[in-house]
């Protein structure tokens, strides 16, 4: 930890550290913390509800226990991230970035494990690690670092350098392939480029290139058929994509049948009878919708909006561009994942394997998200130092 003494005008060396009004721990964004805490609580309940077993079978708490362990680890990581001065991550950026690129390279090598058609995991004992989740944070740090370095004057050469930062891990992720995470990368990059000094016409050009890339991706052989089906089924649910249409249909039924008040925790028939697939992970929003109803699901979205607003506010309050860009990166990531995930369960977005932040079951995602939140919190805490 650095010494804060003397950095704040009016603070005397004789003053006690405990009295220092600029002390980072005095500037924790409690609303952000509380919102995320509530979201994680809802998430934990829903993970339990969708995995505790059906009917007369004994209650299964194995998934709940693992989820609690992930959340606890995530909170620890968040605390640790907060303790370090966020500006030091600027120095560590190349190291972190290099490390995740190596991990992503490793995961598509024979060391990686394939699950559901994507080679995205390392199997380490009983734990599966998904490097692409951590790579999002590394890319955010890397882009923020470079963006702060370039300042507001970004020409095409600098833009190319900036694009290369997410470009390398993105290419590796497409080798898995994992189009969902790739889309998150695109969202992060676009959000951060928007806030750096990239010119409007460049942004427009990039958007055009991005759209072309998506179309090209869908028509290329890079994606498995099931992935293309998942991406397009929401446009035409009646098409003959049995499994995907089933997922989407059951997902909508679960949410729709929840009504205004919901069926009550542990009382959702679609949830309790395992009718919606992947319900504790990618489709957990359906459990929220069914059991907690419009009131619960809207509350969750409001909490997410609150988180978004706080991060946006922290970006405005940040004392340096690096902090601004960190917040923008995390905000872009969260906003896109929430929109994409909840939108997918309600049939307005393609089906992709993106978790709902702080709600879905999944260790790598939870820990990486808390780490990102730690970065943002750090920016808030140190806005006077």
């Amino acid at each position: 930890m650095e010494s804060f003494a003397g950095r704040w005008p009016g603070t005397t060396r004789a003053g006690s550290m405990r009295r220092n009004p600029a002390a980072p721990w005095r500037h924790v964004d409690l609303l952000l913390l509380a919102s995320v805490g509530l979201i994680a609580l809802i998430g934990t309940l829903m993970v339990f509800s969708s995995t505790r077993g059906t009917g007369s079978a004994p209650t299964n708490t194995a998934i709940l226990e693992r989820h609690l362990a992930f959340v606890a680890t995530g909170i620890t990581v968040m605390a640790l991230t907060t303790m370090a001065d966020y500006r030091r991550f600027r120095d560590w950026a190349p190291l972190l970035y290099g490390a995740v690129c190596l991990l992503l390279l490793g995961v598509v090598s024979p060391f990686g494990t394939e699950v559901n058609g994507a080679q995205a995991w390392f199997q380490i004992g009983p734990v599966q690690v998904q490097p692409s989740e951590f790579s999002k944070i590394a890319v955010i740090i890397g882009l923020a670092s470079l963006g702060a370095h370039f300042g507001s004057d970004i020409d095409l050469r600098r833009l190319a350098i900036l694009l290369a930062v997410p470009g390398i891990p993105l290419a590796l992720i497409m080798l898995q392939p994992d189009p969902g995470t790739a889309m998150v990368f695109v969202a992060i990059t676009m959000g951060m480029l928007l806030v750096t000094g990239v010119r409007a016409k460049h942004i427009a050009g990039l958007t055009l290139v991005g759209l072309t890339a998506v179309v090209g991706l869908l028509s290329s052989g890079l994606l498995a058929d099931y992935q293309k089906d998942r991406l397009t089924v929401f446009l035409n649910p009646a098409a003959g994509l049995q499994a995907e249409a089933y997922n989407l249909n059951q997902s909508k039924i679960a949410i729709g049948s929840g009504g205004v008040l919901g069926k009550g925790l542990f009382n959702g028939t679609q949830t309790q009878l395992d009718i919606v697939p992947e319900q504790h992970t990618d489709f957990i929003f359906t459990a929220v919708g069914e059991e907690l109803g419009f009131l619960g699901a809207a509350t969750l979205l409001v909490l997410f909006a609150l988180v978004g607003w706080r991060i946006w506010r922290i970006a405005q309050l940040s004392r340096d561009q690096f902090g601004v860009l960190l917040c923008v990166g995390v905000l872009s990531m969260l906003a896109f994942q929430i929109f994409q995930n909840a939108g997918m369960t309600m049939g307005i977005m393609p089906i992709t394997g993106i978790p709902l932040p702080f709600v879905s079951y999944g260790g790598s995602s939870t820990i990486a998200l808390f780490a990102g939140l730690g970065l943002v919190q750090g920016v808030h805490m140190r806005r006077f130092t």
């Binding site: 059906t54 009917g55 007369s56 702060a148 300042g151 507001s152 959000g191 928007l194 806030v195 750096t196 000094g197 059951q250 909508k252 039924i253 679960a254 949410i255 729709g256 049948s257 929840g258 009504g259 205004v260 028939t269 679609q270 009878l273 395992d274 009718i275 919606v276 697939p277 919708g289 069914e290 109803g293 419009f294 699901a297 809207a298 979205l301 997410f304 909006a305 978004g308 946006w312 970006a315 405005q316 940040s318 004392r319 340096d320 561009q321 601004v324 923008v328 905000l331 872009s332 906003a335 896109f336 929430i338 929109f339 909840a342 939108g343 309600m346 049939g347 307005i348």
Partner: protein
Amino acid sequence: MSQRVESPRLRLGVLGIVVIALFVPLFARLWYLQVLSSESFTEAAEANRIRVVQVEAPRGRILDRDGTVLVDNRVSIVVTVDRVRFAELEDADRTAMLERLAAELSRYGSPATVEQLQDRVDDVRYSRYAPVPVAEDATEELKIYIEEHQELFPSVAVERVAVRRYPYGTRAAHVIGSVGEINDEELEERANKPKTYIRGNQIGKTGVERIYEDDLRGMPGQTVFEVDAMGDPVRILEDLSTPPIPGDDVWLTIDIETQALSEDLLAQALEDARNRRVSGDNLPNRGNAGSVVVTDPRNGEVLAMASYPVFDPADFVNGISSTRWEFLNSDEADKPILNRAIQGVYAPGSTYKLFTGLAAMVHGLRTPDQPFLDQGTFTIEDCRGPGCTFRNAGSKAYGTVDMRRAMTVSSDAYFYSIGADFWNNRGRLGDEAQQETIRTFGFGQETGVPLPSEQDGRVPTPQQRKAQYEANPELFLTGDWFTGDNVIMTIGQGDVGVTPLQLANGYATFANGGTRYAPNIARKITRSGSPDTIKRSFEPRINGRVEMDPVHRQALLDGLIGVTTRDGGTARATFAGFPNDTFPVAGKTGTAEVDGKADTALFAAFGPAPAPEFQVAIVLEESGFGGTAAAPVARALFDVFAGVAPMPVIQPGGALVEPPLEGAEVDDTAERPADRLGQIAEGGAD
């Protein structure tokens, strides 16, 4: 503060707007799904959650008029193979499992081979999704064994199912009919019935089982399961489940003893006919088939309806084999499946004379007392050639006869002359005067008995003949109607065709004074388990009335009573010793010619005249003279009806404790009635 870089506020603002733009559609969509269209999703979720399994209810019973149970249910242990699960097994496991199953089935008393089991499993007639029965009526020991070794028999299940039981064997089989598995057509027809059907359900296929299907079928119960995504049951939802309600009981008008007696008499009479030597150039009697019908002329109730040959309805339990089914429908076996009482169409022969005689009086062509000189033949006026002369049976001359006597001795010549007169007077009476009177007795139309596939018989007319010829000129010699057609119609020949039930019903209409009832086969329907709770009762149904001049009716009645009582009566010998004074029986014999076959023997009779309670009609195919072959059956029945012989008692399995023909011998000690009639000259149809 000095290091603070100026925030690109505008750009952050744009980002904020983009983020808000992402959240707005989420809220909107959530509102749409959960508030605006929640109802339809709620229904869909409910349908997802539950599976309804139909539980078949036992069928109602079929009872005779006094409550004797003719059909009820028993439990059959059925071994089934689930084809979907069977197909999922490895090839080697399938073979091994079938080998084990065949061995255990054989060990526990249901012999089977691997090939037989494989054939059943492959049988395309079974629904792909319903378990295929591979062994029926298995033993309780086998059930226990398979259930205790379920791991050795994947895809095999042992179930108890209720199947039909027939305590009296084949008795009344044609009336009762059979049940079988519902087919696609029936399933479609009954899609909207409250008592829902699913594939594999049993349904009445023929007879009473079919006609009263809606009553006999129980209300299926429902077991409602909550299931998980895999469709595996999680629990039973008791408050949504309903128990099956057994079907209602149908009480027939049939009296099972009268029925059994009729059946035995029919079989015996046919056997006697087969054993009887025939004279001269007559074809030998095959005595292969026939029918006996007993009704109550006061209300049209059918007391007995026998058809020979018989089939065993138990053959249909658990599904009839195709070879058995083909046999029951084959000409070689004389189609035992046919209910000849309503599906056999026969030339009525001289039994028709009652109606043609009445027609002659109704249309003023004869008076009861008008004499006619019967010289054994009748020749059409102004007609030359061999086809112009018609002979009595055996060319026997009866001398001077009137309506009564002509009926009693069955003078063909007398009736031939009536037929000619009808034709000669067609300008005044019309082409179909004779047929009109005949039709008022229900001929040429279904009687309306509630049994399926009833035939309507034939009352030919000149117009019909013409229409038939014009439709298919190559099939008929001529489309013209000649005097001769009218002539032979008077004695029930030519194209005339009646069913035994029509014959009985026509006579009953005459017997009761002119009320033509639609015969009833059921009296009432009662709720299962409570015989006093009547759900429906079947009142007599009147199909028509015939106004008869009492003088005409009396003359004909006298003539019919003469048949059994007077000298020359064609059934007098058969009724020798019968208490005619206390129980007068009015009847008419018939001997109908059939191309290429021995004659059909007929007898229609009712008693006690003049207020009869019993109407009998007997038709024996290829059995010779009506008086010889058919009348003894009526005699034996009337012996019982008149109280001369005791009503035999039916035993479980269907046997009567007293041989029915012995019953007829109680006051006729020397001979059996059938034998005694050998020498009686029958004024048959020629």
